[in-house]
């Protein structure tokens, strides 16, 4: 049982990291960024590329190398997110919601199959693996690396929380999410803040991608699809647009999946998670922490 909880928390912290980017972008410009899961995939591949180039040097350093690679990968995915916003989403600000959603699907497709062109259709094996010796803790087998990955995830989330609640950029983000026009009148550079939001959200997804690569050891160009869906589910469970909600939702989904899988069998894991999404939307569409939002006409 402790093992199940532990696994759930571990997977849940991945979901939470990816869900954060989803929920930030949604919170500010009400856009479902379908390509978000693919930025996670991009992060994993950038990490893979850097590790392959660095070769033996990196594999010798192990965990430290992974940290450095993670930072590089965050910068690259962040920039990719910026570009995506500039090229695909900004020209459509103010366009009907359907057009923006379709653009997001197109962006997701372009990223997936663009990566397939670059890296080939077959899965790649990560050069650095994080399979350390397990330690027994309250009856669960925990590796040091797992614990440190969770720690990194927690640090990133805490940093984000500080950024949004404690800095000027964060205040501007919250202002835009309440009313973009009024924020513009108050002298906030709306475009720049939205671009920054994309950068941060995409960078977090990239970090999660490298972690997943190092932990699971195998990456492929479609790996972002399911995780994107799961992250969205997590964001909805927590209350979409709410940063604490995304973290809570990620952990909740991780735990639910872990326990649900033990109960009904591993092959039903995704079905279980998505059914949960539908049930949640029926019973409590605002999520655990979400407030009732009145639609502006």
């Amino acid at each position: 049982m402790t093992q199940l909880l532990w696994n759930g928390l571990f997977v849940g912290s991945f979901y939470a990291l990816v869900a954060l980017g989803y929920t930030m972008v949604y919170g500010i410009i009400r856009l479902l960024n379908f390509a978000h899961g693919d930025l996670y995939m991009l992060g994993a591949f950038v990490g893979f590329g850097v590790l392959s180039v660095a070769g033996g040097l990196a594999t010798g350093l192990g965990f430290v190398a992974l940290l450095i690679v993670m930072v590089i990968s965050m910068l690259v995915t962040g920039t990719a997110g910026l570009l995506l916003e500039r090229v695909a989403y900004r020209p459509l600000r103010g366009a009907p919601r359907l057009s923006v959603l379709i653009t997001a699907v197109g962006a997701s497709f372009a990223l997936e199959y663009g990566m397939r062109l670059v890296a080939g259709p077959n899965p790649e094996v990560y050069p650095v693996r994080l399979a350390g010796d397990p330690v027994n803790l309250l009856g669960a087998r925990i590796t040091i690396q797992q614990a440190s990955l969770i720690l990194i995830a927690i640090l990133l989330m805490a940093g984000l929380q500080w950024l949004v609640m404690g800095t000027e950029t964060g205040r501007a983000m919250r202002a835009i999410s309440q009313d973009p026009t009024a924020a513009l009148y108050m002298g906030i550079n709306v475009d720049a803040v939205i671009a920054r939001t994309f950068f941060i959200g995409s960078a977090l997804a990239g970090a999660a991608g490298v972690m997943a690569g190092g932990y699971y050891g195998k990456i492929d160009f479609l790996m972002g699809f399911i995780i994107g869906l799961k992250a969205f589910t997590a964001a909805v469970i927590g209350g979409i647009g709410n940063i604490k909600g995304a973290m809570l939702g990620g952990l909740t989904l991780g735990l639910l999946e872990s326990i649900g899988t033990a109960w009904i069998g591993g092959q039903w894991r995704d079905v279980f998670a998505f059914s949960f999404l539908i049930i949640f939307l029926t019973l409590r569409p605002t999520g655990i922490l979400g407030e009732r939002v009145t639609e502006r006409v």
Partner: protein, 345 residues
């Protein structure tokens, strides 16, 4: 001849408009579909053309949801899968003739449409997009895990269509069956789009709040669009099973849903001729450009973005104004003349 070739842009546009507005366009399309096997009728050509027809049917069905009503459905392949699997299971395990499975498939599609659309259509339309995406995965994984659906290897040995003792399972028979069914499906969807319900759909697409204020029950009307799309998809699934005689979960991935969406968006959301053309292009183009297969989906993705930014109405846009039938116009003119006479005593 030379003057024709050196047409001014204005005249070219006018000509194009006239072609677009032609009343007999549908009949011309049908004639082309009926005569195509006389030009080339190899098994390969027939199978490509049959696939194109199925794709047209799917695109027209998705057009009801996306084009008319403005709801993004990203799991349309799920209904296609439901149709194919329900009819396949009934035909192979219980020995039903394929035609007898049609009512069951319709019921199954409607139920699935209500289960997914019911809770989500009350919410913002974005939620529908992602829930349908999840639904597509649920159906595919379920088909992969259950034993009645044959698991990962799927169902094989689905019989062809028999109608009144005539065997239509050969390539030619199947092709013409598809021509008839798809023609009816296209006609049906187009008529539905012009009906009272269709006007309500377009109203909701343009401005949901205004539609609600005008007394349209937006929830029920949206659910109707979603269920309509589900039925079209389910019926196309039956034909798919009949064509391939074997179905398996990899046939129903997100890629399919995305390609159907691509056909609708590229052709022109809400425009029947546009969507038909888009579907034919999307399904036949890969056959012509085999060597570019690796680039195909990448280009599709970029194309979706470009179309949305620069030409949102698609290649063959829907008309903004409904064309009046000639009979109505004449009546209106007579009425005006009579009125003018009455006013001048």
């Amino acid at each position: 001849m030379t003057s024709n070739l050196a047409m001014s842009p204005a005249r070219a546009r006018e000509l194009f408009d006239r072609i677009q507005q032609n009343r007999h366009l549908g009949l011309v399309g049908l004639a082309v579909a009926l005569l195509a096997p006389f030009i080339t009728a190899t098994n390969y050509a027939l199978s490509v053309m049959t696939s194109a027809l199925l794709f047209v049917m799917l695109a027209v069905g998705l057009n009801i949801v996306v084009g008319y009503c403005g709801l993004l459905d990203l799991g349309y392949a799920a209904f296609f899968a439901i149709g194919a699997y329900v009819s396949g299971v009934l035909a192979t395990r219980y020995g039903w003739p394929l035609l007898a499975t049609v009512p069951v498939v319709i019921v199954a599609a409607v139920v699935a449409g209500i289960v997914i659309g019911g809770p989500t259509l009350r919410l913002r339309s974005d939620y529908l997009a992602i829930v349908t995406l999840g639904f597509g995965e649920i159906i595919r994984i379920t088909a992969n895990n259950l034993t009645i659906t044959g698991g990962p290897s799927g169902i094989y040995g689905i019989p062809g269509i028999m109608l009144l003792g005539v065997d239509l399972s050969g390539p030619v028979g199947l092709y013409y069956t598809c021509v008839v069914v798809v023609a009816l499906a296209v006609l049906g969807a187009a008529r539905l789009g012009r009906s009272r319900l269709g006007r309500a759909w377009r109203f909701i697409r343009e401005d949901e709040d205004a539609a609600e204020a005008m007394g349209i029950n937006t929830y029920r009307v949206k659910l109707a669009a979603y269920i309509g799309g589900a039925i079209w998809g389910g019926l196309a699934g039956i034909l798919f099973g009949a064509q391939l005689s074997a179905i398996s979960p990899p046939s129903f991935t997100f890629l399919w849903s995305a390609l159907i969406l691509m056909a609708v968006v590229l052709g022109g959301m809400g425009s029947t001729p546009g969507v038909v053309l888009g579907a034919i292009v999307i399904s036949v183009l890969p056959e012509l450009l085999r060597e570019a297969a690796d680039y195909r989906y990448f280009v599709f993705g970029i194309l979706l973005i470009i179309v949305m930014i620069f030409r949102r109405q698609g290649l063959w846009p829907a008309r903004a104004v409904e064309r009046q039938p000639r009979r109505d116009r004449r009546r209106a003119e007579e009425h005006d003349v009579r009125k003018a006479k009455e006013e001048v005593p």
